[in-house]
């Protein structure tokens, strides 16, 4: 099928989907993807883009507060957020019942089915009786806007408490998260996922007991992130799980809540969320690809056991996280001074697996992939030329020039990249530049030293190859730590080749050329494949 036909089909499928969605009968996305494997990649992109491109104004709420909503008389406004307004209200028939009434924004296009889904969701929540989950009394629709009435909590939120009092002692933090995890275990057993757990959604009673509020009812209304106004952005992003940060709605599940509980525990212990970048895209990027700073470095009072539990909840791969029940059991063990039953610090095997496979600072990956291939071939070409120049005893200045010209390519390619505000990219580029400038200077100084020791320049150049090979190996090792574990392996090959080059120095330049071309293109091509796979990843989570 040619591209044009494919585009036409995609447009038709999208139009059908969007119109069905408007009338409240959108097919299940997974089903749609399964039905149209030919368009699956583009459709996934569409859903991802829709989820990830932020909207500034989700939907308007009326300017004036109404006098009453449903069976409730409005008394005062308690707060206003991205998702709507919260009022203090009193039930008409039972005036002693004072509630917090939340009026929620929803898309104007939300169809009938979505409305009923909201009501059903709220009803499910209303049945979710648990001492640590805020009780929902009633849900409904008033003037086309959804509302629900919930228990009024008078002790503020955990976010407020954190702001005012800072981190908790580790034991108190463990106790608090254990209570929350028990509540979430109950919700998960009823097949309810919160999806937006954060300190601002943990409300406190007048006695300070925590209760979970704001189960994400609105998410289903139009399947888009609508909470993009300032407060919500500042509040929500740091607690998003990697699958949410990547916009993979289908991959969201109970494990997403576990991640958020881990992030809350982290903040209770250290006073800051696990990831906090210079801006929101930076934070999202960190959530997806970086490891959190171990809590004990930020608060030395945090013990190994609690740190292991916390970090296990913050695993990037949902299958590596604990289940709510496991989290409860481990926190109880920690409180009773017993060893963890589920959370384990990573073993050596995990460590090596992680070290070799995990790409770090993926932000610069696409650029890195092509640069690797380019640099590999530039060094290969230079070394082949050096081989012939040495063989025919070409002029010495030319040898220097040829051998060091690839550095100019490598450094130039990095310097000419447009300026970026992304801190990890700036850092990545700085690391790469320092590694290769250091490598170049090291090689040059070694040849100069040999040149002083041996009268013949050809011998000096040939003798420096084993050392250059070791230096390249070291440079690749440094890149392994910074960018991608596979560099360790290529580094090892280079170091292994040093004695071979010393055995028969005449062939060393050709061996170096071969290694440069092989390692550059192997790493570059695998990186490219990795980036492509990341883009087309649909549902990598077997538990979903």
């Amino acid at each position: 099928m040619n591209q044009e036909e494919n585009d036409v089909r995609l447009e038709e499928v999208l139009a059908d989907y969007l119109q069905a969605e408007e009338s409240g009968q959108a097919p299940d996305r997974k089903q749609l993807l399964a039905q149209r494997p030919d368009l699956a990649e583009e459709l996934t992109t569409f859903f991802e883009c829709r989820q990830q491109v932020p909207r500034l104004w989700p939907s308007g709420l009326p300017q004036e507060s109404p006098a009453c909503i449903g069976d409730f008389t409005i008394e005062e406004t308690l707060g206003q957020g991205a998702m709507g307004v919260v009022y203090k209200a009193r039930q008409k028939q039972l005036p002693s019942l004072v509630v917090a009434l939340k009026w929620m924004r929803a898309s104007q296009r939300a169809g009938a089915e979505n409305r009923s889904r909201f009501i059903t969701g709220a009803e499910a929540l209303a049945h979710l009786r648990h001492p640590n989950i805020v009780t929902i009394y009633q849900a409904g629709e008033h003037d086309g806007i959804f509302f629900y009435a919930m228990e009024l909590m008078e002790g503020g939120s955990l976010a407020q408490r954190l702001r005012e009092q800072g981190p908790l002692p580790p034991r108190a933090a463990a106790q608090l998260v254990c209570t929350l995890a028990r509540a979430m275990q109950h919700a998960h057993q009823q097949h309810l996922v919160h999806r937006d757990l954060k300190p601002a959604n943990i409300l406190l009673t007048a006695n300070g007991d925590p209760k979970i509020a704001d189960f994400d009812l609105a998410q289903d209304l139009d399947g888009e992130i609508t909470r993009t106004d300032s407060g919500a952005l500042v509040g929500t992003i740091p607690y998003m799980a990697p699958e949410q940060a990547a916009g993979q709605i289908e991959a969201i599940g109970p494990w997403t809540d576990i991640y958020a509980l881990g992030a809350i525990l982290y903040e209770l212990l250290t006073g800051r969320p696990p990831f906090l970048g210079a801006n929101w895209t930076d934070t999202l990027e960190q959530i997806r690809h970086q490891e959190p700073v171990p809590p004990h470095l930020l608060n030395p009072k945090v013990d190994d056991q609690l740190e292991t539990i916390c970090l296990q909840c913050l695993q990037k791969d949902p299958t590596d996280r604990l289940a709510a029940q496991e989290l409860v059991e481990d926190l109880e063990c920690s409180l009773n001074h017993l060893p963890n039953r589920h959370a384990r610090p990573p073993s050596w095997l995990d460590f090596f697996k992680h070290l070799l496979s995990e790409p770090r600072q993926i932000a610069d990956f696409t650029h890195q992939a092509n640069l690797n291939i380019l640099a590999g071939f530039a060094f290969a070409l230079a070394n082949v030329s050096v081989f012939f120049l040495l063989h025919y005893r070409g002029p010495e200045p030319l040898l220097w020039m040829v051998l060091f010209s690839p550095y100019a390519v490598l450094i130039g390619a990095n310097l000419t990249r447009p300026e970026s505000s992304h801190s990890s990219v700036i850092l990545a580029r700085r690391h790469l530049l320092s590694i290769w400038i250091g490598h170049g200077l090291g090689c040059a100084s070694f040849i100069t030293a040999l040149r002083w020791m041996t009268p013949d320049y050809v011998t000096a150049f040939l003798m420096c190859y084993p050392a250059m090979s070791v230096l390249t190996g070291l440079a690749l090792f440094a890149m392994g730590a910074l960018f991608w574990g596979r560099f360790f392996l290529t580094g090892l090959v280079w170091i292994g080749f040093a004695p071979v080059m010393a055995l028969e120095p005449t062939w060393a330049p050709l061996e170096a050329a071969f290694l440069a071309a092989m390692s550059g293109s192997l790493v570059g091509l695998t990186m490219r494949r990795l980036v492509r796979e990341k883009k087309s990843e649909q549902n990598p989570f077997p538990r979903a």
């Binding site: 447009e11 999208l14 969007l18 569409f46 491109v53 932020p54 500034l56 308007g60």
Partner: protein, 186 residues
């Protein structure tokens, strides 16, 4: 005009597309045909040129911030004037929508300075990314996403078939996502 003004004028011209997109983003959908965001952008550029000595900052970002505030204030004035002229002709909801958006962008009453900064950053990213879409993609994006028109209505407005409009929205979103990520060097 002196040379400094000429240079400043050239710098300001680069931001014209940004100001137009900013205007469209804030304009309620039914006002779209009544008020011309391009005229308003032109007015702001002239005003900025006149008041160029008041700009104390340096660098692109500060200039854009200065222009944004000036443009949104001008926009609000134009809206008020329009409101007065209009009387009772049934565009109130659209006017209220625009005013609400302007209030969000200019005042953000409940937010702290850092929250305001995050919002401004988001507004800025989105607006700048929008300027790089084709005019059709821009229109489809505004009408469908920010103004929540139904797909068939957007198609009618643009004079296109419904599938073509869906395709336009898809390509626009794809490009926006790419641009928003590019902006941060991703």
């Amino acid at each position: 005009m002196d040379q400094g003004a000429d240079q400043f004028g050239q710098v300001l011209e680069k931001h014209r597309g940004y100001l137009v997109a900013l205007g469209r983003l804030h304009l309620g959908r039914r006002l779209w045909r009544k008020m011309d965001p391009e005229d308003l952008a032109g007015d702001t550029i002239l005003e900025a040129l006149k008041n160029r000595h008041q700009f104390k900052g340096s660098g692109e970002n500060e200039l854009r911030g200065w222009l944004r505030t000036m443009h949104l204030n001008n926009f609000r004035d134009a809206l008020r004037k329009y409101w007065k002229e209009l009387g009772q002709q049934g565009l109130e909801d659209s006017l209220a929508q625009s005013s609400g958006r302007l209030r969000d962008s200019l005042e953000t009453p409940t937010s702290t300075p850092s929250q305001k900064a995050v919002r401004n950053e988001l507004l800025d990213h989105l607006t700048r990314a929008l300027t790089q879409l084709t005019p059709e993609q821009q229109q489809a994006y505004f009408l469908y996403r920010e103004h929540e028109m139904k797909l068939a209505e957007v198609a009618k407005h643009l004079g296109l078939s419904v599938p073509a409009t869906a395709g336009l929205i898809h390509r626009g979103l794809k490009k926006l996502k790419h641009l928003l990520q590019e902006e941060d060097g991703l």
